[in-house]
Every structure is written in structure tokens, then in C-alpha cells.
């Protein structure tokens, strides 16, 4: 029996989840399929910044206006996914004078509340900022938690009758005689089982992978994945988001996200969106630029390097522009008129901040094609669950533990204060979760020791769900990949302690089962 859905959404990032929710709220019965864990692609590997829009006011005023509007919407519908840090745009001595001159007017034109901040006030609020900064504006930037946002969208979609499956890779499409897609062929990434799902319409929200999805339908869609590498600093170095007052470049934003600060980002056009290796040159470039914002930053501890691929789309389908020059705006491509596949759509480009708007525009078009008259309600109706709660504050977890009597007995991940009950709850919600999936829900293993202490503790909690080795080895490999590019100083000492434990005392290398997850795990 082949299940059939009105719409199949491909890609479990923020955009896909947003599309699924929007369609579901309009009565379209949808299924979302994701080849890995939800939020394991670009959405889960971004810098955590909810844009005010000011970053694009000069280069891309349209995107800037979209960001500004969506920033307001998300504060309303998903406060629990946000930390309202505010943000600064700061002009260092290296930044162009003209950019500074035009900035305020451009912000005003885009409807962004940018306020000039006296330097004394700036340095009082952010004492580590470079004293050579000569001008600063405050903007309504914020930090955003992508995984909670995605979960909340999926939860809302499910409440409205949709389904979402993960670890389902699309491996092909069945076409009917007039070229329309009649079914989506899926392969379970863990069991290898294949299945087919009937569909009315197909929406590819596969982001940087949209070209690969389109190719399965025989359609050419030229994506230009822009790899952005980021560094995770061990602690918060600023309280608010900090952006350079300059055209977007490397190492020019610093975002306080949970317990850490994220320094980003590089931009390198890559062929393969799965190529997320961070090179030493990128690391060096990021740190050099970081030092311009925060003197000494390169001597502070770096926990990890990671990269995500921007889902950049070249409208002209020609590719000699450097990726930063390619528009950050989003594009909805109707493959009917373009390629003759009437029920296939691709939504590409865009930013996490504008995911909801992208979803709305996609759903509008899809609904029009399906003859569904209902309008979009996603901007008005708050997201369910923790997303609806009060905004995040840094001390939350520690305060919760203290309220329960304190102590470390139940702390599985000591760095990020992940307790046994938190992991039990996460496992109840997703019984087949790997440790990396649990990480995305709980922040397991995301602190200074990068899983050195929590990996076997959490793996043991899986009990009969795991074979005893897969989770353990998979997570060790996964965490190591992010440590390798920044293995010096404190983090190398940490890695060496970890290596001593795992090889010296635990002889983990003598566990002798092949681990597909270890090979496939995301960085």
C-alpha cells in the first residue's frame, strides 16, 4: 500500500519545516522527508543570528526589508527560540568610510531601527571590543536556536495533520505519462529499506542540495553552494551580536549563542554541498578578522570549527561571480513552466531569518496551483511548545538545576548541563535517535570537552536501543571532525586527555563492529 500525500516536502531544514506547517495550516496534507536528522543541514550549521536586516541594507535592500519584517514576526511567534541580545554594527579603522556614511540612511529606508551608540556606552556594554572602533549602531539583531525552531514548526504541522520523516533520502521520482511526478522513492538511511510515497505535488526545500533533487527529476537547477565556515569560541565574548560596519566579508560577525560565541563566516563556492571541511586557511582568516573586533580573540579558546553551505542560486545559471556577490534573496522556481514538470517546485536561496516568508510564498503558489483558497496564518499564530515560552537567557539551565537541589549526580553532559531527565525526555520523543540527534535537541557534547565525558554516559542510556557501540563510536567520530581543524592550545590538550581516556583506559579501539553511522555522521 503506497501512502499518498497532497504534497511532499523534501528537506527538513527551517524552510521545509516552514512550508510543511504553512501548507498544513491551510488544509493541505503534507509529508516532509529529510535525508538526515531534522536541522542537520544548513539550518543547523549556521551562526545562530536572527538578522535585523542591517547586514544587507547596502548590498541587498530587498533582503534587508524582508529580514526586518521577519525579525518582528519571529519575536511574536517564536520568542522561546530567541535570545534578545540586540546587536551592534561597529566600524573599525579598517572599514570603509563611505559605508559608514550611508548606513544610517539605508537602515531607515529599510525600516530597521538602527541607533547610533556613543562609544563610551558601547565599551561599557561590551568591554572586550576593540578600542579603535570609531562608530557603532545598535540594531534589533538576536540569537536564534534553529533546532527548536524547526521542531516547533514540525510540531505545529503535525497538529494540523502533516507528517515528517527523517533519515529518508529521496532516491528517485516516479513520473506519469505527462511528466508529472506521481511518487517519491525513498530510502531509509539507516535500514536501507526503500519505499514509495504517492504525491500530488512536490516541493524541494533541499537548499544547497536542491540541484541534486532536481536532477532526480531530470531537471537542471544550477545551485552555487557557498560554504561558510565558523568557529565556536569557548565562552561568550560579547553579550550582544557584533557585526562589522562594512560590506559582508569573512570573520565579521560574532554571535553569542547559548554558552558560546560563534565567529563567522567565510564564503567559498564549492561543488559539493556535502563538502563541509574547514581548512586551516579559513580558520586563520577568521581569527585574524576576529582579532580586529576583539583584540586577543585568537588567543582565546576555540572549541570547534564547522561549516554550512548556503543554498545560493544563480538566477542566470552562470557561475563566475564569487558567491558573496550572488543574491541572498530567495527564489521560488516553478518547474512546470520552466522545465515541464508541472507539480515540482524548488524554493532556494534565502536565509534562516526569512524562512517563514519563503514558506509563505511557496505555499501561496502551491495552493494556487492546487486550487486551495485558504490564506497564510503562520505570521499570526505562535509556534507551539518551548518555542512559545519566554525568551532564552543564559542562566536558565543552571538555575533549573539549582532549583532541583543542584549537584552533578544527574549531569550527563557537564559542560552544557544536560541532565539524565532531559535525555530521557528527548529519547521518549525520538526513540531511534543517535547521540548526534540528541545533541541537536539537548546540546549534548557541545561544550569544552566536546563529548569526552558524556559520550559513553549517554550511549549507555540508549540501552537496548543501541548495539552498545554504534552510538558511542559514531559520536566520537562526529565530535572529532569538528575538533581537528582547531586542534591546538587548550582544545588539543582536551583532545589529548580524551584520547588518553578512550585509548589508554577504555581501549575503545578494540570494540570491533563496523559503524556505518560513524562514517556517515554529520560534522
Amino acid at each position: 500500500m503506497t501512502p499518498t500525500f497532497d504534497a511532499v516536502v523534501i528537506g527538513g531544514g527551517a524552510t521545509g519545516a516552514g512550508v510543511l506547517r504553512d501548507l498544513a495550516m491551510r488544509g493541505v496534507r503534507g509529508l516532509l522527508v529529510e535525508r538526515g536528522d531534522f536541522g542537520s543541514g544548513t539550518s543547523g550549521r549556521y551562526h545562530g543570528l536572527l538578522h535585523s536586516g542591517a547586514r544587507y541594507v547596502v548590498s541587498d535592500p530587498g533582503s534587508a526589508r524582508d529580514c526586518a519584517a521577519e525579525n518582528g514576526v519571529l519575536r511574536r511567534i517564536a520568542p522561546g527560540c530567541l535570545e534578545l541580545t540586540g546587536g551592534y554594527f561597529v566600524a573599525t579603522s579598517a572599514d570603509p568610510e563611505e559605508y559608514l556614511d550611508g548606513f544610517a540612511a539605508a537602515c531607515a529606508a529599510a525600516g530597521i531601527a538602527a541607533e547610533r551608540v556613543p562609544l563610551g556606552e558601547l565599551f561599557a556594554a561590551e568591554p572586550l571590543l576593540n578600542r579603535e572602533i570609531r562608530a557603532a549602531y545598535h540594531v534589533p539583531d538576536a540569537a536564534m536556536e534553529p533546532w527548536e525552531l524547526i521542531d516547533a514548526n514540525l510540531e505545529s504541522a503535525r497538529e494540523h495533520g502533516a507528517e515528517a520523516w527523517r533519515y529518508q533520502a529521496v532516491v528517485g521520482f516516479a513520473r506519469d505519462s505527462d511528466g508529472q511526478i506521481s511518487a517519491v522513492e525513498l530510502e531509509d538511511r539507516r535500514s536501507g529499506e526503500r519505499r514509495s510515497v504517492g504525491c500530488g505535488t512536490v516541493i524541494s526545500a533541499a537548499g544547497a542540495w536542491a540541484g541534486q533533487v532536481a536532477a532526480l527529476a531530470g531537471v537542471e537547477l544550477k545551485m552555487s553552494p557557498g560554504k561558510g565556515s565558523m568557529l565556536i569560541m569557548n565562552r561568550r565574548v560579547t553579550n550582544a551580536v557584533v557585526n562589522r560596519l562594512a560590506p559582508p566579508g569573512d570573520g565579521d560577525i560574532l554571535v553569542p549563542v547559548h554558552t558560546v560565541s560563534i565567529l563567522g563566516t567565510t564564503d567559498i563556492t564549492v561543488e559539493d554541498p556535502d563538502d563541509a571541511r574547514v581548512t586551516r586557511d579559513e580558520v586563520a582568516a577568521l581569527l585574524a578578522d576576529g582579532d580586529r573586533l576583539i583584540p586577543g580573540l585568537s588567543g582565546a579558546r576555540v572549541l570547534r570549527a564547522y561549516a554550512g553551505c548556503r543554498p545560493l542560486y544563480e538566477e542566470s545559471d552562470v557561475s563566475d561571480e564569487p558567491s558573496r556577490e550572488i543574491s541572498r534573496a530567495h527564489h521560488l522556481i516553478a518547474h512546470g513552466p520552466r522545465d515541464g514538470v508541472a507539480n515540482l517546485w524548488s524554493i532556494v536561496g534565502g536565509k534562516l531569518t526569512t524562512y517563514r516568508l519563503m514558506a509563505q510564498q511557496t505555499a501561496d503558489a502551491v495552493c494556487a496551483s492546487l486550487g486551495v483558497a485558504a490564506g497564510c496564518r503562520t505570521a499570526m499564530e505562535p509556534l507551539p511548545g518551548p518555542a512559545a515560552a519566554r525568551p532564552y537567557w543564559l542562566g536558565m539551565r543552571l538555575a533549573d538545576i539549582e532549583a532541583d537541589g543542584g549537584g552533578d549526580a544527574d549531569l550527563v553532559c557537564e559542560c552544557e548541563l544536560v541532565t539524565r531527565p532531559m535525555l530521557h525526555a528527548a529519547l521518549e520523543a525520538q526513540p531511534d535517535a543517535s547521540l548526534d540527534d540528541l545533541r541537536r535537541t539537548t546540546r549534548l557534547g557541545m561544550g569544552p570537552c566536546q563529548g569526552a565525558f558524556c559520550t559513553p554516559r549517554a550511549a549507555a542510556m540508549l540501552g537496548d536501543r543501541d548495539d552498545g557501540q554504534r552510538a558511542l563510536l559514531g559520536f566520537l567520530h562526529e565530535r572529532f571532525r569538528g575538533t581537528r581543524p582547531i586542534a591546538w592550545g587548550d582544545q588539543l590538550a582536551e583532545l589529548w586527555l580524551e584520547t588518553g581516556i578512550y585509548r589508554g583506559s577504555l581501549a575503545v579501539e578494540t570494540l570491533n563492529v563496523e559503524t556505518p553511522e560513524a562514517r556517515d555522521a554529520d560534522v
Binding site: D408, A493, I501, S505, L506, V508, T510
Partner: protein, 414 residues
């Protein structure tokens, strides 16, 4: 401060052993540790590796002093036995496999007595029971048992099972690590109740019981004997994540021995300044709250460990520096430090300081380098770290004692 015969920098296995050896030889010795370290992280056994094979390997520290491993080990084990911390095994024993906390199999030849019952061979019909403790997060009996049952394990147990015991009080504790449990076991009343509860949790059968390494700290020998008797079966401790209770016992035994032999010991302050005269070190200064502490000596022993211990520090540009004397460090180029597999041998393991036959680095005549700072060993892959530490410490003691009759000039007051 008096002028010392020797200042030992570093308070891990190598530094403490050198300090003890020198003090016992009559030297005035000061051991300066930046903090505590490696002993508290490791499993407490003595890994010497394949001494014969490694001694033949060019560039391996054993090529310089492999012959010292046996005598050094004998002296070390005798010291520990005298301190009430007996070990099993002798130099030259072939390593046998012992189960680990995750269900791996670790080759070991010399183990604390409390760990020794985990070694091969197992008698026919003898099973292994992996015992967990309810709520204690660093024991993973089910996972370990499952992995052990799959191991290719010659002369291994007939059967592997697991059980979990609830211990008194434990459900009420806000803090629960190996350390808290070990301290609870030191208390005779609690211990009696706890062991009775453990016994009640045992399934029928003939078992050797592997349990977490928490059987007491100060009163470990007493706890171990009582546990073995009460449980009526061979038992063995399995070390897990740091803090390592077997490692703490080892450290305390060595520290006591050092003090008893008349050595001075300070921890908390690293060396921040070195006074030199030509190719000699005259004094080192340890950091202080405002001024440094000057430690003058005729000989210096560098035992600050490798990358984990902090003796070596790598920077983003791929430089690795030795942090006390700025000695030249031998290491692979940065691009080759690490391989893809975190559990494989890492080329960076071999990084360290190269020394001559008298343990001296290039350019300094009165510094001896010992322990995991020595270049050319891969202490994890070769499991030779403790052997290198003990043998190099002993060699350093011999070299220094031969050179000097410890007639150091004491300060004479006017």
C-alpha cells in the same frame, strides 16, 4: 630558600618517582608541580609496553634506557607495596587482556591487586559479571557486557552478564562521582550495608565480578579485602572516566613516600622564569602571588609531561613549544598531526624533546628530561608511558647520583 641538589619540575609519575629516588639517595630535592595531573586521569595500572621490541626501535626512548625498565619497575612496585598498595605482575610478564568500562579489552601486565582478577585466563565455566551501581553515571554495565560478549577473547569467560546494585544513600546524593563512592566505601558502617546490597544483587552462578573502581581511598586495602570476602567471588575494579580513584591512590602513595624521604613538594605554581649561565641552568622561578619563588639547584629534572600534561603547548600556527626551558621539540608537521580516525595512532603522539644518552637535551648540561616529554615514544599506541616514566626517572637518579655525592653547598648564615 636553600640551594637544592635537584629541582624536579612536574609531579606526575615520572616527577614523583625521580623526586623519591633522589631523596632516597640523600639529595635535597624540591618537586615543583604546576598542578596535579596525569596520575588522576589514568587507569592506575603500569603500562610498560613491549620493552624488548621498543628498545630495538631507533629513536625510541627505550633505545636509551630500556634496560632500566625492569629494575625501575621492581623498585616502584616495592615502594607501592610498602605503602599498602600492592600490585600484581612483574617486569617481563606478557600482557593479558582485561575488560574495560565500555567493554573493550585492554592488554595489561602489571595491575593494582584490586584490578588483577580481570586478567586472562578464565577457568572453564567461569563467567564474568559486570556490576553497575544505580545512579552512578560512570559505570555502564549493560553496554560493557554487550560489547564484551561480542569480543574475540581467547581464554575469556564462559558467559558475560550484567547486574546493577542499589547502594544505600546513593539515591539521596546530589553529587555522585567515583570519588564520592570511594569515600563512602571508606566508612565501615556504610560499606557493610553496601556490600550486603551488592551481594543481594548477584545472580546465581560462578562469577568473577567486575565493578567500578570505587573501593575506598584511604582505606582501600581494607575495603577490597572485605568486598572480596563478602561477595565470595573474585572481584576486580574497572577504572572509568577521570577522576581515577586508582590513580589518586597511586599519587597519594608516591607523595607520602616523597615527603617521608625528606623531599619538598609544592604544587600550584608553574615555572615562569629560568636563570642560566652559559649552558647551565642556575635556578628556576615558580610563579607566586606577587613575586616568584627562586629555586636554585645544581641539577634540574624536567618531568612536565606532554601535550595533555601541559609540558608541551601547540599554537594555531603549528608550533609546539616546551614551556619551561624552551627546548627544541621534535614533532611531525602540523598537516600530519592527526589522522581521520580519532581512535587510530596519531602521528602527534611521538612529539617531544630529543635527549642524549644522559637524558640531556641539546644545549643544556644540567637538565634531564624524563617521562612523556621524551620524543620518539607513542605512549598510547605502544602502551609504554609508565615504563618510560619510571625507567627515565630511575636513569636520571642514577646519573645524578653518580655525578655528585650530594655535598651541596648549604647556605651558611653569617
Amino acid at each position: 630558600m636553600p640551594t637544592y641538589d635537584a629541582v624536579v619540575i612536574g609531579a606526575g609519575l615520572a616527577g614523583l618517582s625521580a623526586g623519591i629516588g633522589l631523596a632516597e639517595a640523600g639529595a635535597r630535592v624540591f618537586v615543583a608541580g604546576k598542578g596535579m595531573g596525569a596520575t588522576h586521569w589514568a587507569h592506575g595500572g603500569v603500562d610498560v609496553g613491549d620493552v624488548e621490541a621498543l628498545s630495538r626501535r631507533r629513536g625510541h626512548p627505550y633505545a636509551r634506557f630500556g634496560d632500566a625498565v625492569g629494575p625501575a619497575l621492581t623498585a616502584h612496585l616495592a615502594r607501592l607495596a610498602a605503602a599498602g598498595l600492592p600490585y600484581r605482575g612483574s617486569p617481563g610478564d606478557t600482557p593479558r587482556l582485561v575488560p574495560t568500562a565500555v567493554g573493550g579489552l585492554r592488554p595489561a601486565a602489571i595491575l593494582p591487586e584490586a584490578q588483577a582478577a580481570g586478567l586472562q585466563p578464565w577457568a572453564g565455566g567461569e563467567g564474568l559479571l559486570m556490576l553497575g551501581i544505580d545512579r552512578f553515571k560512570d559505570v555502564w554495565a549493560q553496554m560493557a557486557a554487550r560489547n564484551l560478549a561480542r569480543q574475540r577473547w581467547p581464554d575469556g569467560p564462559a558467559e558475560v552478564r550484567w547486574a546493577v546494585a542499589e547502594l544505600p544513600w546513593v539515591e539521596r546524593l546530589h553529587n555522585l562521582t567515583a570519588l564520592e563512592l570511594a569515600r563512602l566505601f571508606d566508612d565501615p558502617d556504610w560499606r557493610a550495608r553496601a556490600l550486603a546490597q551488592v551481594r543481594a544483587a548477584l545472580p546465581d552462578g560462578t562469577w568473577r565480578i567486575g565493578l567500578p573502581a570505587v573501593l575506598g581511598l584511604a582505606r582501600h586495602a581494607e575495603v577490597f579485602a572485605e568486598a572480596r570476602e563478602t561477595l565470595g567471588a573474585p572481584i576486580f575494579e574497572i577504572p572509568s572516566l577521570p577522576p581515577s580513584v586508582p590513580g589518586i591512590r597511586l599519587f597519594e602513595a608516591l607523595r607520602e613516600r616523597l615527603l617521608a624521604a625528606g623531599g619538598r613538594f609544592q604544587f600550584g605554581f608553574g615555572v615562569v622564569k629560568v636563570e642560566r649561565s652559559a649552558d647551565h641552568v642556575v635556578a628556576v622561578h615558580t610563579q607566586g602571588a606577587s613575586r616568584t619563588l627562586r629555586l636554585a639547584a645544581s641539577e634540574f629534572v624536567l618531568a612536565t609531561g606532554g601535550i595533555a600534561g601541559g609540558g608541551l603547548r601547540a599554537t594555531a600556527d603549528g608550533m609546539i613549544s616546551e614551556r619551561v626551558f624552551g627546548l627544541a621539540v621534535e614533532a611531525p608537521p602540523q598537516a600530519e598531526w592527526l589522522v581521520d580516525d580519532p581512535l587510530a595512532e596519531q602521528p602527534l603522539e611521538s612529539a617531544g624533546v630529543r635527549v642524549d644518552a644522559r637524558l640531556r637535551p641539546a644545549g643544556v648540561r644540567n637538565v634531564r628530561v624524563i617521562g612523556s616529554m621524551l620524543a620518539g615514544q607513542r605512549y598510547l599506541s605502544e602502551r609504554c608511558g609508565d615504563g618510560v616514566a619510571l625507567a627515565s626517572a630511575q636513569r636520571a637518579v642514577q646519573l645524578l647520583s653518580a655525578r655528585s655525592a650530594w655535598s651541596s653547598v648549604r647556605n651558611v648564615a653569617s
